[in-house]
Symmetry: C2
Subunit: 443 residues, 2 copies
């Protein structure tokens, strides 16, 4: 295990954008609080940025430089905080630090989802560690929870709202009846969505976080490619309205569930959840992660999933854990990190049994519903509810159907048959419904 | 720090009631999972009970005995799990273990609220530790969160629903419009309330948990006597109905808030919270703890606050943390435990500024409202809303008033004046309203 640092603890900070500035701010403003609580003092030896001129507000205050390697190599640097993002160059810098036996704290979910296993392994080889609380759920201490307080549990399911941007958009669509594009525009204006929001709204960001969280919860290796991903781009305001009428709220969920013995279903998609599910109340830029443990039952961790100070809070808590020695000790002893576990046995998405919400555009002629029900029945899918409002005008009407549990593969086949009907105008919209996982064993 | 244990780790279990049996069950059923995750194996050497005959189901399976001292003293016992409850005898047994340098895991909130400071100090003196995740919030890993993931934050407020019994009763009253006695009877029948429910419904159990949580969050010593406590016995169904009409839900909250520089307001009382506050959705026997950190903003931890397996989950997670060495290390290094901090500077309840909900029974004659408003005005209290329904019959009508922020002491004086009015039938009901604490610094 990394030997205890001498005081004050030398830090190299790679990247001084939004989160990096927040870390600097906590270390400066809460210096006395941190010293009193932990006995530790910190000394930011290097702040590595791409262009020193762009950080005029820090000039003369922070030890700015552009040489990451020199900063990492500096003997007075005991720990490296990586907050620069990116995967290629960044990955090499982290490897450099680990090879020198220096612990790394990172918020870089893309990097961990892609190269986590190798990096963890390298850290172990060099008797140091990686801490990554800030990579998932911003300030929510979910990584800590999975590696301490929940350890006595076989985890049955982990379900999270882990992308703030998507949740801001869906919350606005739900509360104000806005369409997707309008809600996205507002999110951009308010700084909740980037100019190119693809990573967030496509579900990919959520999938990267799910890869990290599921690997810890289920003690398996999860690659991003193991995860079935659908984004929120195609969610229509009308589906949110129909969902509400049926008692549901639409959320982008990242789901990892134990199914069929030890097979793992891994998916990110817009999902209808019951209005009385706690997750349905997670609004705006807040994140929340629900965990079902065999002994614990249902637990939920809620908080700000992004933003400068919440994320900096997670980075500094990792810094403390590493410097105290508790994080290196847990990293060394626990066999929950992906370099110590085997690849996940992933249940293919087509084999997943799930409930669905369908919205069909049907011609308003007799017998249409019978044809649709027949197509579903042929594929072994039974209906749970049907919603069709009286309409006066137009030849086409929306018909909403919810189903009981059915295989995703059967549903795909049924949808092909339904969309081939002359009485239906394709494409039929299909969203999944998630009922709360049962609590086993809890009493 | 407690030296690393040799394998398997010898355990003395004091008490084998509901929670103790759950711990035994996890250790037996999840033996392989725990070994794989942590590298640890456990050996329950002694299960100490009051009367061996009453544990016939465990005879021949568990090493039952009645001699706690011998169990603690056994050289093969490395750690003591105290799940017997009580304070006097139990306190002495825990002291005995600590004097031998043996770490103690306990779920005993009464004992910690009463003697925590001395016991922590004794543990430190003998270079061992006490772990107590199970003492607050059942399976919710809130103690872990306060001592790891939230460490970078100056905590501004901690607000919890931490008594399951009271929450079961209030939830039933809210959902079904039942009175207190009827809801209490049902809770007893369902096993959510004890035959003598005083400790729970009086707010005392919540106060003991608040003493523990606030001491960690604010790094001060908190005695139960520092906390202003009101229970739910006097909450009337009609107040829950009026509250809903005003957009509020009534919950028994345990509140610790930083006020006026570093003074701490500590209180447990039935509270009106906004229907859109996440805490308002915490139903039945679930618990939740909201924390506001200066960097983190609002975070919430939700889960089963009691019950066999959730509480056992917390006990076993503590057992793992202690055996791995992370908990002893944190206990040694962090100055957040009450034996390392100073007594809290408590804001007297009369000096607290808070909003109130008043329900008066007033004679239905002209000028009553003016008299009431005058009494409030004389004491510097301004009205936020008034609710009075048209009634056909009877001389007395309920008048509901909500106020802006006012000193509790002023409110007490105003209530004395109001209840002395000939047009008002005393006593006037007074509940507090809590608006969500602001998030400072978060971005």
């Amino acid at each position: 295990v990394t030997s205890p640092p001498t005081e004050p603890i030398g830090i190299a900070l790679l990247g001084c954008g939004v989160v990096g500035s927040g870390v600097v701010r906590i270390l400066a403003e809460q210096r006395e609080l941190l010293r009193r609580r932990t006995g530790l003092t910190f000394d930011v030896r290097h702040v590595v940025v791409r262009d020193v001129k762009k950080h005029a507000e820090h000039a003369g205050i922070l030890p700015l430089s552009t040489d990451a390697q020199a900063a990492i190599d500096d003997k007075r640097v005991w720990i490296v905080l990586e907050l620069m993002g990116g995967t290629d160059v960044t990955g090499e810098l982290i490897e450099r630090a680990l090879r020198l036996g220096k612990p790394v704290v990172t918020a870089n979910k893309s990097l961990l989802a892609e190269k986590g296993t190798q990096l963890f392994s390298l850290a172990r080889q060099h008797e140091t560690c990686i801490a990554f609380e800030a990579s998932c759920g911003g300030g929510i201490p979910i990584i800590h929870a999975l590696s301490t307080g929940l350890l006595a549990n076989r985890i049955d399911a982990l379900v999270g709202i882990v992308n703030g941007t998507s949740n801001v958009i869906l919350t606005r669509m739900t509360r104000s009846g806005w369409g997707y594009e309008q809600a996205l525009d507002e999110a951009k204006q308010l700084g909740f969505a980037e100019a190119d929001p693809t990573l967030d709204v496509s579900g990919r960001d959520a999938a990267q976080k799910l890869a990290i969280l599921a690997s810890l919860a289920f003690n398996v290796q999860v690659a991003e490619a193991d995860i079935h991903v659908e984004g929120i781009e195609l969610v229509d305001a009308v589906d949110i309205t129909f969902a509400r009428e049926l008692g549901y709220v639409v959320k982008l969920l990242a789901i990892a569930e134990r199914r069929d013995a030890d097979r793992l279903s891994l998916r990110v998609h817009p999902t209808l959840i019951h209005a009385d599910d706690v997750l349905s109340d997670v609004a705006g830029s807040f994140n929340a992660i629900s965990v079902w443990g065999h002994a614990l039952g249902h637990a939920l961790f809620y908080g700000r999933g992004a933003g400068q100070m919440p994320t900096a809070s997670a980075v500094v808590s990792d810094l403390i854990g590493v410097a105290l020695g508790t994080t290196p000790l847990a990293f060394k002893r626990l066999k929950i990190f992906p370099d110590t576990t085997a690849p996940a046995d992933v249940l293919p998405f087509e084999q997943l049994e799930t409930r669905s919400y369908l919205r069909l555009t049907a011609r308003d002629v007799p017998g249409v519903l019978a044809e649709i029900a027949e197509a579903l029945g042929r594929n072994g899918i039974s209906l749970s509810a049907v919603l069709q409002h009286e309409v006066d005008r137009g030849q086409h009407v929306p018909v909403v159907i919810t189903t009981h549990l059915a295989r995703e593969g059967s549903m795909r086949q049924a949808l092909r048959e339904i969309d081939a009907l002359t009485t239906v105008r394709p494409p039929t919209v299909c969203l999944r419904i998630m009922d709360q996982p049962k609590e086993f064993g809890v009493s």
